[in-house]
């Protein structure tokens, strides 16, 4: 492979299911009657990461940071502008998702799936559960009684009664609808599932059930998850490794514990300082990150975070830092990562 990514491919490389290199997705901004392109939104702007087979890999960041677009590019639900997405398909072997032919893409899509955030808008209200959960089966030549049986089995697997098969989505609560979405995603027994904010729209008392379900299914079926979310507590709970994104760039990637306990990027530190903790005894005057997220259509020069960064030096505005492996499997994109001592989550306990 000739791509010169700083993210290593060695040692545990055989366990790697998905490797993303230099992935970019730029959306044109069109203006006026003639739809001239007036600029581009750099939604994803050169992202490198890898996901190991069987793990849950978290992608966190604030709205507009490109985490959802990254998840979609990986499945080619949107066409990446440039970059490589290498996937170890159980049938085709290692393939570059960005270069798949139509036929290969169909195979790839049998082996991957997506769970969406909003359980209301992601289910067609005019279809019964049989049609919703059974649609991927129908598209792959499973019909009649066999399909029905499989749908019933899937419903049971996600904790819904098989009798519900004839009902429409409106008859279900948000948590139940999310289970329907999960059943649909699992219909073809995928290897890899992108979960895009799967619990963000759910009530607190329903989130725990849903997270437990996702974990049980992973154990049972040997799934690998890309878990896109903005809730740090959820990410810490469910993910094995986590990457933090800021304005289309990946700024830090590490094992969950390393990232939360010993963050290396000032933005990660700021995120942890900002999350409200459910314990009034931890209340204190915290350092609050000033300013607002940079505009991805017009990002600042150098490191995108430098205008808000409390540790910024002139070099940060002049030159964009590279993503470097500072500790084993702990990557950071910051000029000053070696010299800074940042506060992890335990600093607030």
């Amino acid at each position: 492979m000739s791509e010169t990514s700083n993210v290593k491919r060695d040692a545990s490389a055989d366990a790697i299911l998905l490797r993303v290199s230099k992935l970019k997705k730029h959306f044109p901004i069109q203006k006026g009657f003639l739809r001239r392109t007036a600029g581009v939104v750099r939604a994803v702007d050169g992202v490198d990461f890898y996901i190991k087979a069987g793990e849950t890999f978290g992608l966190v960041g604030e709205s507009g940071c490109g985490k959802t677009t990254t998840g979609r590019c990986v499945l080619r639900a949107v066409e990446p502008t440039v970059g490589k997405v290498l996937f170890r398909d159980e049938q085709m072997g290692e393939v570059d998702v960005t270069g798949l032919s139509e036929a290969q893409l169909r195979t790839f899509r049998r082996h991957t799936a997506m769970i969406f955030q909003d359980p209301y808008s992601s289910l067609n209200p005019r279809m019964t559960l049989l049609d919703i959960v059974g649609e991927p089966l129908l598209n792959n030549g499973v019909h009649g009684a066999e399909r029905r049986e499989r749908v019933e089995q899937l419903l049971q697997m996600v904790g819904l009664r098989p009798e519900y098969i004839v009902r429409y989505p409106h008859a279900f609560s948000g948590g139940q609808r999310q289970r329907i979405g999960i059943a649909r995603a699992l219909a073809l027994n995928p290897q890899f599932v992108v979960c895009d904010e799967p619990v963000s729209a759910l009530d607190v008392s329903i989130q725990a059930q849903t997270l437990n379900l996702l974990q049980d299914l992973q154990d049972e079926l040997g799934l690998t998850y890309l878990f896109v979310a903005h809730q740090l507590n959820v990410v810490e709970h469910i993910c094995d490794r986590v990457a933090v994104m800021y304005v289309g760039k990946l700024v830090e990637m590490a094992d969950t514990e390393a990232l939360f306990q010993t963050p290396l990027h000032p933005y990660t530190e700021a995120l942890m300082g900002a999350v409200p903790r459910p314990d009034p005894r931890l209340r204190r005057e915290r350092q609050v990150l000033e300013g607002e997220v940079a505009n991805p259509a017009n990002p600042p020069p150098g490191c995108y975070f430098h205008p808000r960064c409390p540790y910024a030096i002139p070099r940060c505005a002049a030159k964009e830092p590279a993503l470097r492996e500072l500790r084993s499997e702990h990557y950071v994109k910051c000029h000053r990562a070696e010299e800074l001592t940042l506060r992890g989550i335990s600093a607030y306990a």
Partner: protein, 368 residues
């Protein structure tokens, strides 16, 4: 003496929605107080009635809902700030002056209690209370502002509707308030339309509008839910700062227990239209009594705490409000369910301390 601290008293409030499909008891017998100058957090899941409770206090319950019974009492006296509310800085004087000469109720120091529930929701009295005695901010500031008027005009309108001042004077007050809530470049943003501001800035503008007339109560309905964590931290800090300065009480509605722990002095926990627990914030998190609250606190993943592989989830679903279970609304999901009691009889608020109540049969028995 304790009575004096109460700004708002809610007693046995029932607000129902009469739908074709049946009656939804959105709020079904709520009791709590909002203390002057303090933050009362109201926490619960969607459909628990927390927003309708706030709408009842403002008397803006949307049709076909209405307050069926119960009392909401406002103890004014907080109308006229005792001292100029914005110290020193520039036209703060103008603002303080406006507040001071404002409502007639400020004649006596404490004022007579006003039964909000007796007022006509469309009447002049209620109308003048909104804005001047209580202000409200919402989750999505984009949909709360008119898209075709500038921020400045919309903020000025609040003043012009309530006070006999000139447009120029109003503009001065607005600019001062905008500066106060941390809107950069107030002169330019005065002429901006809501869509030109970021989410965080729009929420700041919303707060400016709600606080323009120095209300003694600010009702904040999920004010940070639509914001990112770093912006949320900024807004929470702003609200704390404004409270310390202006001394208003805040009714802070949220589903986020983290935000409650951060902001509230007292907490009202609601489930399906009922207040299941009401206590000071420390007791809510460190001595929770109601099985729902206990289970809820167990079920959230705690950041920085090894929670093990599985979360202790609350089983089951929130029941359909049109088809409420008999007895305690939580009994179908409750780990402490007592057959023959919980599914038959609605539990009453049991006093567990000077300022701690829980509506659960476990404690009724203890007390009896």
């Amino acid at each position: 003496m304790e009575q004096q601290d109460h700004l708002i008293e809610v007693r046995d409030l029932k607000t129902y929605f009469y739908l074709r499909e049946g009656t939804v008891k959105a709020v079904d017998g709520a009791n709590f107080n909002i203390l002057r100058g303090k933050t009362t957090g109201v926490v619960g899941e969607s459909g628990c009635g927390k927003s309708v409770t706030a709408q009842s206090i403002m008397q803006i319950v949307p049709k076909p809902g209405r307050i069926v019974s119960g009392d909401i009492t406002l103890w004014p006296g907080g109308y006229a700030p005792p001292s100029p509310p914005i110290p020193a800085t520039g036209s703060g004087q103008a603002l303080g002056g406006a507040g001071a000469k404002h409502p007639p109720e400020s004649g006596s120091k404490r004022g007579l209690p006003i039964k909000i529930t007796n007022l006509d929701p469309q009447g002049d009295e209620m109308r003048s209370l909104r804005g001047s005695a209580m202000g409200m901010i919402f989750q999505e500031p984009m949909s709360s502002f008119s898209p075709v008027h500038t921020i400045g005009d919309q903020l000025s309108e609040t003043i012009l509707l309530h006070q006999p001042v000139s447009k120029d004077a109003a503009k001065g007050m607005v600019l001062e308030m905008m500066r106060h809530v941390g809107i950069a470049n107030p002169e330019r943003n005065f002429a901006a339309y809501p869509h030109q501001l970021s989410g965080g800035m729009r929420q700041r503008a919303m707060i400016a509008m709600a606080l323009m007339l120095r209300p003694s109560l600010l009702i904040a309905d999920e004010p940070t839910t639509a914001l990112d964590v770093t912006t949320e931290a900024q807004i929470l800090r702003l609200m704390r700062g404004l409270q310390a300065e202006l001394g208003m009480a805040i009714m802070f509605i949220t589903h986020d227990l983290g935000v409650i722990a951060e902001m509230a002095d007292d907490v009202v926990v609601m489930y399906l239209g009922r207040v299941v627990e009401y206590a000071e914030v420390d007791a809510i998190f460190h001595d929770p009594k109601h099985p729902y609250l206990r289970a809820l606190l167990r079920s959230i993943p705690r950041i920085g705490v090894k929670s093990g592989k599985r979360l202790t989830a609350i089983e089951g679903m929130v029941p359909n409000p049109l088809d409420m279970p008999a007895g305690c609304p939580f009994h179908p999901r409750c780990p402490d369910f007592m057959p023959g009691l919980c599914d038959v009889q609605i539990p009453q608020d049991a006093a567990l301390g000077a300022r701690h109540t829980a509506a659960c049969h476990l404690y009724e028995r203890e007390g009896a």
